[in-house]
Amino acid sequence: MSSPTLYGLCGAVLVGLGLFGLIVHPQPLRKIVAFNLIGGGVFLLFGVVARRGAAAGFGGDPVPQALVITGLVVAFAATALAVALLLRLFHETGRATLRSDG
């Protein structure tokens, strides 16, 4: 097995792990961490696709690499918005759970 494939398998497992955390954890902060873990796995798969496409003297296909950079920045923006919403929810209700509307 080549090392890109190895990291590809690693990314596959990360997606599943993150998905599990997102479903199971009741705390929104843990869900946010889990979402970032899924993101890590997905980006890793892009990286593997890029590495496999190494050609023309480049170590990897630059297109998926650029897509990952865009994706990382978007994921950060998402995390920041989610954290801000969560903190606001906490300051307003004293609780940090999604089960507030009952």
Partner: protein, 311 residues
């Protein structure tokens, strides 16, 4: 190969720890470590640009943001943990997620050989962009419209965060105020580190056109230096209603749009650069863009306005 195997196992180990740790603090610390290990993986995958971004944004700033959130939410931990779903549901979720992983793993093994790639096309056209770094060429030329919309996404997230402010503090200062301790070791260290960090940021920006680096990585480093200075109390965030701040935030995307639209006249298409001036135009976009992104990232971390503006 042995190194790669070890690294992959380590990444997965830390990931498992991040998901299964009882304590949220441990999970967040695990996530930061995960991000740093992932940056190493990116180096192994011959993607140094991504490695820099991952270390700076994926691990660094995101980690800081999550740690900050955790200090606020510490007290809610036990109450929320009580809502853990039952064992049957968890088992079902585990089976589902294992299936997803297995399916994805199979797909990875089934990817075609030789792999399709756009690398030759990127290389064939890179001369017209005047750039030496292929990733920057993709971000700023071939797929510039993605990058443009992405910077708008960042701004939009910031507006979303600001919109959470209660009306009475609208337009005020984001985040809590930190007092500087003029004699403190921390202040001293920060005073030393911030200028060095800014220098590093400028360097990373400058080399981005030919070597790994670029506006996002540089902006993150600049933002991190600003956040550090704010946490130590050396600077305070400006009130979000300040006109100059709004202009600083919007300047990057605005210049990007302006040069993009000028492309209609100069090169016959939106976001097209006439080849002799391509590098100059891209640099003209990148400078304000880096500053705008840095300001946006820093304010994303600072959060919604919390202190009313003095009127």
């Amino acid at each position: 190969m042995a190194f790669d195997t070890g690294l992959a196992v380590l990444v997965l180990g830390v990931a498992v720890w991040t998901i299964t740790a009882r304590d949220t603090f441990a999970a967040v610390v695990g996530f930061v470590a995960f991000g740093l290990l992932l940056a190493l993986v990116w180096v192994r995958l011959a993607a140094p640009d991504v490695a820099l971004t991952e270390a700076a944004i994926g691990s660094g700033v995101t980690g800081g943001l999550l740690l900050g959130a955790h200090t606020h939410l510490r007290r809610t931990e036990t109450a929320a943990a009580g809502e853990l779903p039952g064992a049957a549901l968890r088992l079902a979720a585990a089976v589902l997620c294992a299936m997803v992983s297995a399916g994805l793993a199979a797909i990875v093994l089934l990817l075609p050989e030789p792999a399709p790639t756009l690398a030759p096309q990127v290389a064939a056209n890179i001369a017209t962009t005047g750039l030496g770094n292929p990733v920057t060429a993709v971000l700023m030329a071939y797929r510039a419209v993605d990058t443009l919309l992405e910077t708008v996404v960042l701004l939009l997230a910031l507006l979303g965060i600001w919109s959470l402010a209660p009306d009475r503090v609208w337009g005020g200062f984001p985040g809590p105020h930190h007092d500087a301790d003029p004699q403190g070791v921390l202040t001293f260290a920060a005073q030393l580190l911030v200028p060095v960090g800014i220098l590093v940021g400028v360097h990373i920006f400058w080399v981005g056109s030919v070597a790994p680096g670029g506006e996002f990585q540089a902006a993150t480093i600049l933002a991190a230096m600003w956040i550090l200075a704010a946490m130590v109390g050396l600077v305070d965030a400006p009130p979000v209603s300040r006109r100059w701040l709004r202009i600083l935030l919007v300047a990057g995307p605005a210049v990007f749009f302006a040069i993009g639209l000028a492309g209609f006249a100069m090169a016959g298409a939106f976001l097209a650069y006439p080849p002799p001036y391509a590098k100059l135009l891209i640099l003209t976009i990148e400078i304000p863009l880096t500053l705008s992104i840095a300001a946006t990232l820093a304010l994303l971390v600072a959060g919604p306005p919390e202190r009313a503006p003095q009127r």
